[in-house]
């Protein structure tokens, strides 16, 4: 692959890392929030729901800006985390945070829909057999929502690969640290004649995302076959 320079390879690897961790780490939260929204009634539910969707509604730049003033080293949360050694500003972790936040509404919606499709009667059946709430969740609910979890994960992953506005605003564009594929593509597109190199990176993005997509489809099909038509 001579046609990719070292900086581009760096961007690719970083993007994969960012997308992977963004997806993985946000997944438990995504499941928890989806569960909350699908199954519980509580005061302020509309607020939580709105908050989750916020990154979708706001222009990404605004989200990035909000992340910056919240999770930056001077920000209220960032300041608290820094002593613990958790730093987002100008780190790949920040890119992952931005990607996770941007993908969160997509993930939550997919998982939530799956929660809503689970027949509570099966969960009841499990509880009559002695399974506590947690066990019911792990042995019945979770396997049944797996297609939705997969769908949510792949959406978040794809989004993470494509995310640019919030990321560059939050952690800017530091080659090797926060320069993701999307930032690199954007950079190329800013200058006349940059379409060629940009296109190469777009191709890489697409290939990566298609791989993830195919993998998730295959997995989902296996899961579906197992669950199908009971």
């Amino acid at each position: 692959m001579d046609w990719l320079g070292p900086a581009e390879w760096q961007a690719i690897i970083l993007s994969l890392k960012v997308a992977f961790w963004a997806t993985l780490v946000s997944l438990p939260f995504g499941i928890a929030v989806a569960h909350l929204l699908a199954r519980r009634a509580f005061p302020g539910k509309a607020l939580v729901n709105g908050l989750v969707h916020l990154p979708l509604i706001l222009p990404p730049v605004v989200t990035g800006y909000l992340l910056l003033i919240t999770f930056g080293v001077r920000g209220p949360v960032g300041g608290l985390l820094q002593p613990l050694g958790i730093v987002f500003a100008f780190r790949w972790t920040g890119a992952a945070l931005a990607a996770a936040v941007m993908g969160f509404p997509l993930m939550v919606r997919a998982i939530r829909l799956s929660f809503e499709a689970v027949d509570p009667k099966l969960e009841e059946a499990a509880s009559t057999l002695g399974a506590s709430r947690v066990w019911v969740f792990l042995t019945v609910t979770l396997p049944l929502i797996l297609p939705g979890v997969l769908a949510g994960a792949v959406l978040a992953f794809a989004k993470a690969l494509g995310e640019f506005g919030a990321t560059i605003t939050f952690v800017s564009n530091i080659p090797g640290q926060t320069q993701t594929l999307a930032s690199a593509i954007y950079t190329f597109l800013q200058v006349p004649g940059g379409e060629g190199p940009a296109l190469r990176l777009v191709a890489v993005s697409v290939v990566l995302a298609m791989g993830a997509l195919l993998a998730s489809e295959l997995l989902a099909r296996r899961v579906q076959k197992r669950v199908g038509g009971a």
Binding site: K121, T128, L129, L144
Partner: protein, 359 residues
């Protein structure tokens, strides 16, 4: 262990307001479609939190609205056979069967997968998914799943409804055996099942208990039995004497011989034999040249008019009290009344295999 239930719960237009006390054994909930049987069972399971009431099994209180007690379902140690299967679609039959076992206290594991699977005829299905099973197969897996949880209380909501007679006959003895070990709440529409299994019968009507009591007593009362007089019958205690070469088994009930189609138990075993009221014919004189083998002399105890043209005559014989369902016209023609001597004629073949059970 005895079961004590008092529940008041409104659900849409329907008000469940039922209370019963049941001694150890199988308590059968009997009642027409929509009378509240499933709702009541769900309350006992904790799937429904009744608006008021108290539910206890032995001295364990599962629910008490006054005391604010509500034991969560998973801590009630249940084995619930649902009316509609509810198998886990993502697990194999084997995994479904073993599901409850993970959660059962180690010491309590009573049942063995292999034995239960064989009894239910689902051995060859163990690696299949519930989605690929026939209706009756699903139902049998659901029964197995509940039994293998080694429950302290079994709830069974029409567990055998989807099964053929032969299969029912294979499963019934299992419940009979369990009767001695675990309290069982059993919903059924089948008179034969009720008669054979029930220790106690609770009759529901529109959410209320209209009759409850020992099985023999409730079933002998044609006025309340919801399936009509067909369910009335008496239960005799008998001992197996010997098996004859022609396929008949000779039993003895209160010193009187009783010939029945071959029963499974060995000589010396004690049995419950249900004699349905409509399978007994009464005769004033000793009948002769009849194809019926069992003819027991006795004395009429009582004649009760039932619904329609029938009457239930209870006759005290040496073998125990028998019920006979006759037309009122016959009762009058024969002059039957308390104290009148007569003979009860029971056809051997009228006693179906499902009417004979261990005790």
């Amino acid at each position: 262990m005895s079961v004590s239930v008092r529940v008041s719960h409104r659900q849409g237009d329907f008000l469940l307001d039922a209370a019963f006390e049941a001694p150890p054994g199988i308590t059968v909930l009997f009642g027409r479609s929509g009378s509240g049987k499933t709702t009541l069972v769900n309350a006992v399971a904790g799937l429904l939190r009744p608006q008021a009431g108290r539910i206890a099994v032995g001295d364990q209180v599962l629910f008490d609205s006054a005391a604010g007690v509500f034991l969560p379902t998973h801590r009630r140690r249940l084995g619930y056979v649902f009316q509609e299967g509810r198998l886990f679609p993502h697990l194999s039959v084997r995994q479904n069967l073993l599901y409850g076992r993970w959660f059962a206290p180690k010491g309590a594991r009573r049942e063995d997968l292999g034995r239960v699977a064989e009894m239910l005829g689902i051995g060859p299905l163990l690696e299949r998914r519930p989605g690929d099973l026939s209706g009756g197969e699903k139902q049998r897996v659901a029964i197995g799943r509940a039994l293998l949880a080694s429950p302290g209380l079994i709830l069974a909501d029409e567990p055998l409804a989807a099964l053929d007679e032969a299969r029912k006959a294979e499963i019934l003895p299992y419940f009979e055996r369990l009767r001695a070990e675990v309290p069982i709440l059993y919903v059924s529409h089948s008179a034969a099942e009720v008669a054979r299994l029930a220790t106690t019968v609770v009759v529901l009507e529109k959410g209320r208990v209209v009759r409850q009591g020992p099985a023999a007593e409730v079933l002998a009362d044609p006025a309340v039995t919801p399936v009509g007089a067909r369910a009335a019958g008496a239960i005799l205690e008998a001992v197996v004497v010997r098996h004859h070469a022609d396929g008949l088994s000779e039993l003895q009930a209160g010193g009187h011989p009783l010939f029945l189609p071959q029963v499974g138990q060995a000589p010396g075993s004690r049995l419950r034999v249900r004699i349905a009221a409509h399978d007994v014919i009464l005769s004033r004189g000793r009948p002769d040249g009849l194809s019926a083998l069992n003819i027991l002399p006795g004395v009429v105890h009582e004649v009760r008019g039932g619904e329609g043209p029938g009457a239930i005559v209870s006759v005290d014989t040496g073998a125990g009290r028998l019920l006979a369902r006759v037309t009122r016209r016959s009762a009058e023609a024969l002059g039957l009344g308390p104290g009148v001597a007569c003979h009860a004629v029971i056809k051997s073949v009228a006693v179906a295999p499902e009417d004979v059970g261990g005790r």
